[in-house]
């Protein structure tokens, strides 16, 4: 017990509090000046919007995949079920270089897309793509158990009472699964906010256009501007803590619905 707490505070809590001390040493004016510089604001905006887009893509694909994996039998189902976690297992740098290569203007997918007039590498689209790869498993893994636990009897009863398949889906299945979907969305979003390795290769890191906050932290550190780096980091951390808090609220909401359902 004591050992656990000591180790935890040495490795996690003390370093984290240092960050806030360092940023707190800044004048409020300087802090605001650093964190609202146009380049920094642009990076926050990109990070927020791209994470939102990526998490939405994850919800659509993830729900589809979870549905198919739980509800249907087809050859290779077990294999695909195991494969879903690949983005968690694959190092982010590896994901980064392979996506950058696939979607570069000369790559397998980049070339046909470029012919259609869609540029992926070195644009915000590339950032969204990398983030949706990284967050792919979250929605699948949160929705899957809930879909599995849905009782077939409820659906049968609804069907007996004359509900159409569409009505059953919208009024029975969707409300039950919704908390899990939102939790998955929030997890994917939170992960995307802090992601670094998979993004830097495909984004091209163009100032004002495709720079993400972690990259700005890196460049500040290269100039030994510790306080500037800390200020940007504090804003990022607070944002991800807010998202984390929201996921806990969502989980609580999910349990309440579960208890009442």
């Amino acid at each position: 017990m004591g050992l656990t707490l000591t180790y935890l505070s040495l490795v996690v809590l003390i370093p984290l509090s240092m960050l806030f001390v360092k940023a707190g040493a800044l004048d409020l004016k300087d802090f605001v000046a650093i964190t609202t510089a146009p380049r920094v604001l642009a990076s926050y905006r990109l990070s927020f919007l791209a994470s939102l887009a990526a998490a939405s893509i994850n919800v659509c694909l993830g729900f589809l995949l979870a549905w198919v994996l739980v509800r249907y039998e087809f050859p290779g189902r077990r294999f695909i079920d195991g494969l879903v976690d690949l983005p968690f297992a694959l190092p982010t740098a590896v994901a980064g270089i392979v996506l950058a290569t696939l979607y570069s203007p000369l790559g397998w997918l980049g070339r046909p897309l470029a012919a259609l007039g869609i540029k992926v590498a070195f644009t915000p689209v590339g950032v969204v793509l990398a983030l949706s790869f990284v967050g792919f498993p979250f929605v699948v893994r949160t929705v899957q158990p809930v879909l599995q636990s849905l009782a077939a009897e409820d659906e049968e009863a609804a069907a007996c009472l004359g509900a159409s398949r569409f009505q059953i889906f919208v009024r029975l299945i969707l409300p039950t699964v919704l908390p899990a979907v939102t939790t998955g969305f929030a997890l994917a979003f939170a992960r995307a906010l802090g992601e670094y390795g998979s993004v830097v290769f495909i984004s091209g890191n163009l100032p004002m256009r495709t720079e993400i906050p972690p990259l700005l932290i890196m460049s500040r550190l290269d100039q030994f501007d510790y306080q500037g780096a800390s200020a940007i980091a504090v804003v990022m951390l607070v944002a991800s803590f807010v998202v984390l808090l929201l996921t806990h609220v969502l989980k609580w909401w999910g349990r309440r619905i579960g208890a009442w359902g």
Partner: protein, 301 residues
Amino acid sequence: MNAAAAISRPKQVPLAAVSESPAVRRTLIGLALAAVAAVLILPVSAILIEAFSQGISAYFSALAHPHTWSAIRATLLVCSIAVPLNCVFGVLAAWCIAKFDFPGKSVLVACIDLPLSVSPVIAGLLFVLLFGARGVFGPFLTEHHIRIIFAIPGMVIATVFVTLPFVARELAPLMEAQGSDDELAGLSLGASGWQTFWRVTLPNVKWGLLYGIVLCTARALGEFGAVSVVSGLIRGETNTIPLHVQSLYDDSHFAAAFAVASLLTVFAVITLVVKTIVEHKTAAALDGALAGRGRPWGGRA
């Protein structure tokens, strides 16, 4: 667990009213398979194809390059310190969480999860703030000629931070689900606390522990953001495998970068295989434990 639950479900012909028509079903399966192929299978095959694009001899000469070897050595060194540390911590923490009740337990759980919600770059930044040349301990360390940042110790600490939650997160739910009945039985039969731990608690969770260690190792091997902040990217010294992949890629040695990346990919695939096996085993073990307690629905024989 998912797979096991799916198996246990009796096979039944779905009623038309509670399932979709075959056409809809096939379309949905087709769409899902296409998504999996585009998002997961294509990148992995691209890694392998790019790795061998200059021929097999180029592949092996990239792997045999001294810088690759030193990267592998650095990575293994970092892992061999960080993983055992977090493994011991994970068992301790899971033990505290699962077997005891104390005020502030949920705060402890949240603190263990913290590193997962901290961006890797910020994780690196934390230790630069502490140990960097202009950090809190910076002057002290320079005085005593100790290098932590831009050297192996810094990389170890950053890796420990990033991989801290994995073992504890795997073990705590498992230990909680199994309860303390087995331990109580052991203690009442005269075993010491230490014996009970080694002979009862650990064997009960061995599969979860194995998976936790594999996850922890996978992350430690592949960690990029945090380590790149603290390593200083000195080739042949503090480059780990992922950082070496980045240097090769930035120098436009694409085939070599993918060759080294394929090593990490192989480990990622091994992780997935272990995960599948472990989920199977733990589902069976938990079922057995539940059946032993005379739950009404029993377990599979």
